[in-house]
Point group: C2
Chain length 240, copies 2
DNA sequence: TTATATAAAAATCTCGAGATTAATTATTGA
DNA sequence: TCAATAATTAATCTCGAGATTTTTATATAA
């Protein structure tokens, strides 16, 4: 269940090299948007960005259209492209929808997951544990490594789900929440013990306790929302 | 709540004229794919389609990328575009995910819907009723009219939902299920009383009976799945 | 006959320039 | 001084042609 492509739709396998200039530009721009190099609401001018990413105008437009699929970029006819805006209301919506989808997918995984699923989950949790041990030293590379492991862990949890569509939507929402997580981690230190939450989630899942696991997962997601809510309100002012 | 754009992401307002050639080609191709003019799995060659839709190659590529957002087209790097395949398993997945999302959105609507929501719902139901009365004569145009009213009714039901994301995903899934509904309606006559189901759903919603309404909605969606399951298996063989 | 390698054909991907539209600045009149 | 209009600038949208890659067809050898 791990060898299928990342998405039913785009078929862009992120583990290997991008096959085309469009995909390469798409992947680079996606990282830059999530990392906040381009601010929410900021205009994305093709004429400038094509030099930045060293591709033609048409190629860059196609990369932007791929980002529309991820809802990281908004396109308006005859008025170009913008980075998707952020807001507290949006973060609330993302979090609650994630709870709805991920808890359902987790229940499906626990009900139908086989040995291969368990093995992959154990491996993902192990890598996440290592990454969280290294997280103490405030290094950018360790944070990025943790982010990858965290994502892999959450995907491993639900990888035995029967629903490709839920997993597809989950990936979009996880990516969206990554934007908020970055700003909240950057502005205020982590007070909660994230590793303990992950450990409890891991244990309940392996014990096949669907009710407890989904309850922990739900609280886990909503705690990130609380952190965003504590940010100063002027943080969400959009850039023209 | 009705004057907001169709989607948070694409901002393509279908009620008014498309502002660009890309959008126009996108809308036409989308209709053609849903109507089955291009078979599931079929290769979509840019060189041929650009003549068909009378646009340049780059323009048509962009339209295809917009269809990737709807998961109606699958893109593979250096290997072009294909119509998204269909299968019974996919239809099951779509139906169950729709149940999960639409029942939740309906509960939110019933909990928070105001007078404007009720009024819009009553209007949508009225139009749907009229369309279902005219549906007896097996005309293509009346079927298309019914399809529009059915979609508007389902969207009106959940339009007071607090979650833009659920509504966004619902629109994608509804569009997907439309493909299956077309083939099942075409191959076998309608045995169930769809209007009675809609009426019961409408009454329970206006009565603010969330449990009953979501129960009816759930069964309503799953009955369409049953119709697809009754189709001959060779119907889902993909075209090269 | 089957399999492998080579050559031809077709399709995709990529780019830069021209046409159309939106945004900005300057001008005019009240 | 302010508002409305016109001219200028800038950006988007669109297209066709060339460069790569994939696919198909052909030929050769086992």
């Amino acid at each position: 269940m791990r060898d299928q492509p990342a998405s039913q739709v785009t078929e862009i396998d992120q583990t290997q090299e991008p096959k085309t200039l469009v995909e390469a530009a798409y992947l680079r721009m996606r990282r830059d948007i999530i990392e906040g190099i381009y601010a929410p609401g900021e205009k994305l001018r093709v004429e400038h960005l094509k030099d930045q990413y060293e591709v033609g105008a048409g190629t860059l437009r196609e990369a932007l259209l791929l980002l529309v699929t991820d809802a990281l970029v908004v396109a308006q006819g005859q008025r170009g492209f913008r980075v998707a805006p952020i807001s507290i209301a949006d973060c609330e919506d993302i979090s609650h929808t994630r709870v709805l989808l991920e808890t359902e997918a987790l229940r499906q995984s626990i009900a139908r997951g086989d040995d291969a699923w368990e093995a992959a989950l154990v491996a993902a949790f192990h890598r996440l544990t290592r990454a969280e041990q290294k997280l103490c030293d405030n290094d950018d590379s360790t944070t990025e490594e943790w982010e990858k492991c965290n994502r892999a862990f959450h995907e491993a949890l639900i990888s035995a789900s029967t629903s490709r569509w839920i997993r597809h939507f989950q990936q979009i929402l996880y990516q969206q929440s990554e934007r908020y997580r970055r700003v909240s981690l950057f502005r205020q230190p982590i007070t909660r013990d994230i590793h303990a939450e992950h450990h409890a989630l891991f244990d309940a899942t392996l014990a096949r306790d669907a009710a407890r696991a989904s309850s922990i997962l739900s609280e886990h997601i909503l705690r990130t929302l609380d952190a965003v809510k504590r940010l100063p309100v002027d943080f969400f002012s959009q850039r023209a």
